[in-house]
């Protein structure tokens, strides 16, 4: 396992930076540059590196799609949100149409924001490719076919020339896929969702999104601590504040930054990546949540090892 690349990190619905949002970033950057001189591109880059991420970049707006680069020939993806479209374009650009590939796609669940990228998944339209879908839901294949049926979309899945396989996974089981050991766990979400623990070559990544933690059942908490145990990276649904997730948005199936830190501390995780951002949050709000989460990690650490906390953004790469 060499790298994790996040192609889509937004929750529920794709969003885009608006013209007003770009202008606000420019205004902030230009104001900060007042009185400075930039005699080279490197000087400009140094200045930009010193700005907050919200001022110089954007967290992006594609829905969930995460690539795990194993170092082997096959591709491994978690979810096919709208981020699957830029992933698929990059993959085809890399190989061209004449070099068939195998794509292993683990689906957390079948809600629209996690499958909406499939109709635009270029490798599915290339003969010789194999797309293997893994998931815990009995309706896995039917849900994917249904979203491309008329009148929802003009190209049905029967048109896709790639070989399409569907693999039903049972919670609590372990599978060997693309050189990795994959553990499956059922999560609390409307209609259920599934979290995945990927381990290979001494590295472990946990992908756990659309998962609500009620904090009332110690046995349930312990199950998640075991799923996360000693992971190098946990990609965690931190869509809401703790207050919202257990009050007005209880039973909406999502979690918080606070619970993410607590679980990761208990499980001796090295890196927590906040994921599935609330679509109404702008970049400055996500920056603020990240800073607060890092502070909470510091406050709550006690005797636990320091936990690195990041906020996922479209295009983010995490290397080892």
């Amino acid at each position: 396992m060499k790298r994790v690349r996040l192609w889509g990190t937004r929750g529920s619905l794709p969003v885009a930076l608006t013209a007003a949002g770009v202008r606000a970033k420019l205004r902030s950057a230009l104001r900060g540059a007042s009185g400075r001189t930039f005699d080279s591109d490197e000087a400009v880059e140094r200045y930009l590196d010193g700005l907050d991420f919200a001022a110089a970049g954007t967290y992006g707006g594609h829905t969930s799609c995460v690539e795990i680069e194993t170092g082997g020939p096959d591709y491994v993806l978690c979810d096919l949100g709208s981020g699957a479209r830029p992933f698929s374009q990059a993959a085809v650009m890399r190989h061209g149409p004449d070099h068939p590939q195998t794509y292993h796609v683990f689906l957390s669940h079948l809600h629209w924001d996690h499958i909406m990228g499939l109709p635009f998944f270029v490798p599915a339209y290339i003969p010789g490719n194999t797309i293997r879908f893994y998931g815990g839901h009995a309706e896995l294949e039917a849900a994917l076919r249904r979203q491309q049926e008329k009148p929802s979309f003009p190209v049905e899945m029967t048109i896709m020339p790639a070989t399409l396989d569907f693999v039903r996974l049972q919670p609590g089981t372990v599978h060997e896929v693309a050189g990795m050991s994959v553990t499956v766990m059922k999560q609390r979400h409307s209609g259920d969702s599934y979290g995945y623990r990927f381990s290979a070559g001494g590295r472990t990544v946990v992908y756990t999104t659309d998962s609500e933690h009620r904090l009332v059942n110690p046995a349930e908490t312990a199950r998640f601590v075991e799923l996360f145990r000693d992971a190098d990276l946990v990609i965690f649904d931190a869509m809401y504040s703790l207050a919202d997730s257990i009050s007005v948005k209880a039973d909406w199936g999502h979690s918080s930054n606070i619970v993410g830190v607590d679980l990761c501390h208990h499980a001796n995780v090295k890196h927590l990546c906040l994921f599935h951002h609330e679509p109404v949050f702008d970049d400055a709000t996500i920056d603020r949540v990240l800073k607060e989460t890092r502070r909470y990690e510091e406050i709550s650490r006690e005797n636990a090892a320091p936990l690195h906390v990041s906020a996922a953004y479209d295009g983010m790469e995490i290397d080892w």
Binding site: S241, S256, I258
Partner: protein, 89 residues
């Protein structure tokens, strides 16, 4: 007036997510009775945790018990000051 619950957190040095959940349960219960919930004299770390978890939107926060009681109930303030010898400044 439907009453209020006031938490004196002056001796609380830390609160976990599980502890906050208990506060939320109390808040829901009180809201259903149209009663208020407040907390006073939070140590800086506890106040930070309340704010990071957005519990400052759930619970009314006051710098001191006197401030809280003044906002919630003058009779309770008088009784509290008589009992503790504190004075409302």
């Amino acid at each position: 007036m439907n009453g209020a619950l006031l938490l004196d957190l002056s001796k609380v040095g830390y609160i976990s997510s599980v502890g906050l959940r208990v506060v939320m349960m109390a808040a829901k219960h009180l809201r259903a009775r149209k009663a208020r919930i407040a907390a006073a004299a939070l140590q800086p770390i506890v106040r930070e945790i309340f704010e990071i978890a957005r519990f400052n939107h759930v619970v009314e926060l006051f710098p001191s018990m006197d401030d809280a009681l003044r906002a919630l109930s003058e009779p309770a303030l008088a009784a509290y000051q008589a009992g503790t010898g504190s004075s409302a400044q």
